[in-house]
């Protein structure tokens, strides 16, 4: 194995899949042959209808290609593989046969879109191929987007960012709580420093209550709302910077913004993962719908063909 350092994750990496060579080549050759035969037939024959010999040939080969595309890949997915990369090889054939089936069935129509059953079956086939192509694009882009969102939700060390932010918030809140606790309010309503703060002072050096008339007591007057009561709430002036959210807990609002950013990244990641999953389900449902429409069209074709065979 070639050991070289490979960096980066571009949106559209030009990674050459060597396994894709044979399925791609075979598909291109068969598509070219089908288109060439169509042009030759239109020059040679005057019967340019879906029920001409060429029309039936395209119909039968197109239906076989469609069935092979569906059955082979489904079978490959549900059987045990013996080698790494076998399922990818089956997927490449699935894509090639699907494209070939669409071309053949389109040629089968001979641009006659009058029979409703056949036209709907063809539309179904077109929808399958388009949904498959779009699905491959989603498969290429969505994981890149998921990785980018996951990176936002992880720290540089690869830990959960939300958990790290929660710890920061917890630390900020407990730090502020300690500060508040260091400034207690006594039962008498007077503010006093906590024992840790008063311990710094020499014993007996506490300031006496002022006898001055200018002394303003910190004790609440009966007209004031009690700070210890439940209904007390500090409401700063709306023009003051204190009224900004989180201003009373410094650092808190920044952490909350980071938290919201990480949570939004997780939501986007969930969306992209759901897109990958549900687009695949949509593709499978389209296949089932198209098989149903094809069976309806085959029943319509049988009502035309069986009387002809019976007369012969």
């Amino acid at each position: 194995m070639q050991k070289q350092d490979e960096k980066g994750y571009p949106w559209f990496p030009f990674d050459i899949n060597r396994q894709a060579f044979i399925p791609t080549l075979v598909t291109l050759v068969l598509v070219a042959l089908a288109i060439a035969s169509f042009f030759i037939y239109t020059r040679v024959s005057t019967d340019l209808s879906p029920d001409s010999v060429a029309g039936y040939t395209y119909a039968i080969t197109g239906t076989i290609a469609m069935l092979l595309a569906t059955v082979l890949y489904t079978r490959a997915r549900h059987t045990r593989r013996s080698k790494t990369g076998q399922l990818n090889y089956a997927l490449l054939w699935h894509i090639g046969l699907g494209v070939l089936a669409l071309v053949l069935l389109f040629l089968h129509s001979f641009a006659d879109f009058n029979p409703r059953s056949g036209t709907y079956a063809l539309y179904g086939m077109i929808a399958i191929v388009i949904s498959g192509a779009f699905g491959r694009t989603v498969d290429r882009l969505a994981p890149r987007l998921i990785a980018s969102e996951a990176r936002k939700a992880l720290t540089e060390d690869g830990d959960d960012r939300i958990e790290a932010i929660s710890r920061n918030i917890q630390a900020i809140v407990s730090h502020n709580t300690e500060n508040i606790q260091g400034f207690n309010i006594t039962k008498r309503g007077k503010r006093e420093l906590s024992p840790a703060k008063t311990a710094d002072r020499a014993p007996g050096s506490a300031l006496p209550e002022s006898w001055d008339l200018a002394y303003i007591s910190l004790a609440e007057t009966p007209q004031e709302a009690n700070r210890n009561a439940q209904q007390y709430r500090f409401v700063p002036d709306p023009k003051s910077p204190l009224s900004d959210p989180g201003a009373l807990i410094p650092g808190y609002s920044e952490q909350m913004e980071k938290l919201q950013f990480a949570q939004q990244a997780l939501l986007r990641e969930r969306f992209f993962r759901a897109l990958i999953r549900y687009w695949r389900i949509f593709h499978v449902l389209m296949v089932l719908l198209t098989i149903g429409l094809t069976l309806w069209h085959l029943e319509y074709a049988a009502t035309l063909l069986i009387p002809i065979f019976l007369h012969h």
């Binding site: 050991k3 997915r77 593989r81 790494t84 990785a147 759901a274 990958i276």
Partner: protein, 102 residues
């Protein structure tokens, strides 16, 4: 088909310690790589495990990481219930980080 329509919960990415634990728990049976529709080269599970968590990322492993489309086909066959898709996501995150580091 009905299994496909069954709404399993969407599992998000895992952290580095969780990915490290999963890699340590991997028994190297290779079932996840056999079930993978994205891998196109013969990559061995021990090389993938080693390069997922740390060190340089070789070209085949980087190509595999970029082509992995998180379909989750690797999860069901794992006999010890590991999430290879989460490990591949971590590898993708590493590739993205390498791009920024230059």
């Amino acid at each position: 088909m009905l299994k496909m329509l069954k709404p399993n919960s969407i599992i998000l990415h895992k952290t580095r310690p969780q990915v490290g634990q999963e890699i340590q728990a991997c028994i190297g049976c290779n079932e996840c790589l056999l079930a993978c529709p994205a891998v196109s080269e013969p990559i061995t599970i021990d090389v993938l495990n080693r390069e997922t968590i740390s060190g340089q990322v070789s070209a085949p492993v980087a190509r595999f990481a970029r082509s992995c489309y998180q379909c989750g086909a690797c999860v069901a066959p794992c006999p010890v219930g590991l999430h290879r898709d989460a490990m591949m996501m971590w590898l993708k995150v590493r590739l993205l980080s390498m791009l920024d580091e230059g």
